[in-house]
Subunit: 334 residues, 4 copies
């Protein structure tokens, strides 16, 4: 069984997914669409697929699944169109920046018995998967405390920040998903603190660049997330899970695994400093997981609900900062 794919969006991340699809023995890339003809053409010629419009792809009878890599504000509409046309849908996060819009979209997916996987790529990172496997194998006992350190090498362009929905919806959202995944229990309360320390201009745009969040579940499990928009030494991505029997941690990935020793001491190279390099295996694994779910008829490992709940935590964190109090998740979900 070969899953035939249509790719919506031929940008940076679209290229990554195109390669993953083309290299998968159970998948084929049938068509690609992009507002920029040259971008679509480049993928089409590299992998021998057709260039079509988005509408054509959604309407194509030779396409089983679509991968949505278009701008965020188109995601919900395209998901709805896709599931209505009977396509399985893989969509880059987020579904939308507005909780109500996401809920409405998920209703449409549900009404059409659609398949929707949201691209939380970090769940598919081999090291993070190994931590999760250690937890699932009982190696740390009952999970109690999760610590996530997640720092970007640098802030995105100002123009992007204004459209991003803010650091909690744009950056921390990955960590909210990781925390839910690792805690093994839904979050009940959110406390957050936020500062502008990296770049005043980010504050003038109404956003923050340095935040800490505490999540607490009903049984008292806790997760701490620490984010910064600046880590000079590279893309800092670590998780640590403390349980009743011990802990499991995933370390960072350096540019090279070498050490130089001189009179000044021991020196190792900086970390990989770009998310597409750091998570190259994760991107390939998530598409493989999507294909695997389709060929086996099982549920996708991440769902629209995962997309919704991470966004809800982002809303709660923002509310916590604004109101200086612990915010119940139920206040957001209603």
């Amino acid at each position: 069984m070969t899953i035939r794919f249509g790719l919506l969006g031929a940008g940076r991340i679209g290229k990554v997914h195109a390669r993953a699809i083309a290299n998968d023995p159970n998948a084929s890339l049938v068509a690609v669409a992009d507002a920029l003809p040259a971008a679509a053409e480049a993928i089409a010629s590299a992998y021998g697929c057709a260039v079509r419009t988005i509408e054509e792809i959604i309407g194509s009878s030779d396409v089983d699944a679509i991968v949505i890599c278009t701008p965020t504000d188109t995601h919900a509409d395209l998901i709805e169109a896709g599931v209505k046309a009977g396509k399985a849908v893989f969509c880059e996060k987020p579904i939308d920046l507005n909780v109500e819009r996401v809920k409405a979209c998920l209703e449409v997916v549900k009404a059409n018995k659609g398949t929707l996987m949201v691209g939380f790529n970090r769940r598919f990172d081999p090291d993070f998967m190994a931590v999760k496997a250690a937890i699932d194998a009982g190696k740390v006992g009952e999970v109690e405390m999760v610590t996530i350190s997640s720092r970007d090498p640098g802030a995105p362009p100002y123009e992007y920040i204004t459209r991003s929905g803010g650091i909690f919806r744009d950056m921390t959202i990955h960590d909210f998903d990781m925390a839910r995944w690792l805690l093994g229990e839904e979050v009940e309360t959110v406390q957050a603190a936020a500062s502008v320390l990296v770049d005043k201009k980010i504050g003038e745009l109404g956003d923050y660049d340095s935040v800490n969040v505490i999540l607490r579940t009903a049984s008292g499990r806790q997760a701490v997330i620490t984010n910064s928009r600046r880590a000079t030494y590279g893309y800092d991505q670590r998780i640590e899970v403390l349980g009743s029997k011990g802990s499991a941690s995933a370390m960072n990935m350096a540019e090279a695994n070498i050490e130089v020793a001189t009179a000044e001491g021991f020196h190792r190279p900086p970390l990989l400093n770009f998310f597409m390099t750091r998570y190259v295996a994760a991107y390939a694994n998530e598409i493989a997981a999507f294909i695997g779910a389709m060929t086996s008829g099982t549920e996708t490992p991440t769902t629209g609900t995962d997309g919704l709940l991470a966004l809800v935590l982002a809303e709660a964190a923002l509310k916590s900062v604004e109101e200086g109090r612990a915010v119940k998740v139920a206040e957001i979900t209603g």
Copy 2:
């Protein structure tokens, strides 16, 4: 110049300080007092000093300085008696569990122009000192975010917990002091979450065993503290400081610095699992620093105010948990 010492309390930590004093070329141990005669005798015979009562030591003309290692509820009274008698005072933390009592005690110290150093031993750990030196040398630039992981191998006896003032005043207080030291700016707001995950009995005693705290300064610098009363792998004590130019971290100390590789993978020994082993160098260094301040006539590196402010943060953290909101430090200090 030799500083002549009287030691009040000959228990576990008293013994450690006795050895440090006896080995210091600028100090001599003149007398020791303890409610248990055998404990005092043991130190007296090991180091060739006299056994006296607490009152006798405070009244001794051949004693320049006293080291208070008696139970917590005697600290404030002994500090006051000591400074009134013109003795320089080194006191184990805390001064008292009650903020008002501490304030009153510090007033007495001030009125008598007394010298008071509070024993925040961790500031004198060689690795933590190296991190602080890196900060002070400008290696991480402006400090922005501090992360402190501090986990005990196991919970103290129930009887101790009931007298401890609770986890924030007993355990986190060390981390509050570390955070103040590393942030380089006073804390303005405290947010905390607390759970009972290790031992239900601790909850029944009105305490918590698993907490996370976010501290925020006026300029927006933040510190996160994560505590647990159980780390099966040993005494987990790490700090990490992120700044505008990079980060500085102190790693844990293992029982031995070896690695065994087998078909199951690579194995390293657990961490040192007792605070007196983990901080053996720190205890020696803090007494040396006290002696150094006295012989040079400079201020002690930690003061009564440090003792007060760490306690204030503990109060604020507890209030944050109880009221589910961010608590201003000013609410506690009045």
Copy 3:
């Protein structure tokens, strides 16, 4: 400019090279040959190339370069046929197990002004390349002492061992090449010790499984190579270079970059335990380097002479073991 490739041998390593060629924008895979039709067909269908005989490929006018992945005893003949036909040749190591045969082959290459690159994949490992780059950048000063630890997870099949030419020609040969590359000066003297510790049967077949070698150059630079056919914890591959200013080292690659801490201590996963997994990047890089040399018209980064000289060191090491003395390289090269 696109280099058109013919692939001789469609086995394990042939597949790896086929993928590298197919994914290179400056190369195309035109044809493949293998004694087993199914193996050739598999590659042909995966990459859309033709199946031809070895003779047909060497005679093909639409082929610029050949990659030789056939059994060792065919290498020298195929290299000669290739260069005579005007093809650039990439050949898996070794050229031959006999020094005289290699010399004769290289004469043919020279007479035909042929291009020959020998596949010493380890030179193309990103971490080892980073160590070499550190040396070339002067970070360790003058190179003085090289240490290479190279241990296989397990011994090859007995049948392979009998055809391998022995551990020095089969396994250490990689390390001889690495040593030459890192020392930056030709080896003058070889001392070696050899034992059978892993499997007595290997000794009965006339081979060793555990060896140590010291190489010494004319100026006194030294390299130590330590080999074993058994490392239970995975494929152990480390290099360390000491120079006048410091050292540079490359660490091992683990299955996952995680750590699990329990009451027994800290545990990390075993090493990658298969050379094709461990050196996946190196294999891709070496083909890219071959293509790069062809398109730029520069010399290939490894040559037939490198193949010869590594084999000479293997001969010298064996002679050192047999005769219990330091053997001059000149004794072998004549």
Copy 4:
């Protein structure tokens, strides 16, 4: 039972042993002797012991044991005088630089049923002891290959080199002892290579500064020792033992256990760069072991024979360099 000590030699290492003896509850320091009165006085006043001549100490009825820290060329004579006077003897390595003189000395020890412990301090380093304990606990299976990296921060003064007996007898001798201890089987054959790479003047003095040695036992176990008189990054002291089930390794000790990350990468401090700092615990442990053996009536953990056999390996290594061949240990021992 308290062992009463006389200390012969109040120099650098004498002070270290004086402190260890003074702090041991089962020992007392009775007297000290040194050619320099001030050196002896300093120890006498610090620990409240008498100053006597060497002859007086050896003849003292209130002395049970002597510790010899005088110049190397006095060791054998003092050992003999000590055992003849019925004193237990702890002697810094080496017994003598001449194998025959050592043999003669050991004959005297034997004839007098004397107790002699030779100060191979590294066997008492906590990390190396942990490696040995792992071996003894069967964690690596049968020992097969030992690798010892031992590099000094810098060369000793020229004057010292001329009296040292050369690098093999002065520096490698520690590693020869470690190798014997870790191999668990006596060495049969020695191969060595030596160069002058650090300082030409060392060569002019007839010595080497960079050596590699391979040791081989009768059953084929092997050890590699790599030495240099210069490691800019500190005192480099590592051991690694490969066995049938896995490996055990001891890592280096850094000045501080911290890491600073900047845009240039991750930086750790250099290694402890002085043997007395690096082996501070080892020195205390070896004296404790000597006292322990005396109080328990068991054999000392290192003996005169250990001193002899390490020296024999040094002789063999030197012969191997000079004659360019593998040298049998039996050639030296006769």
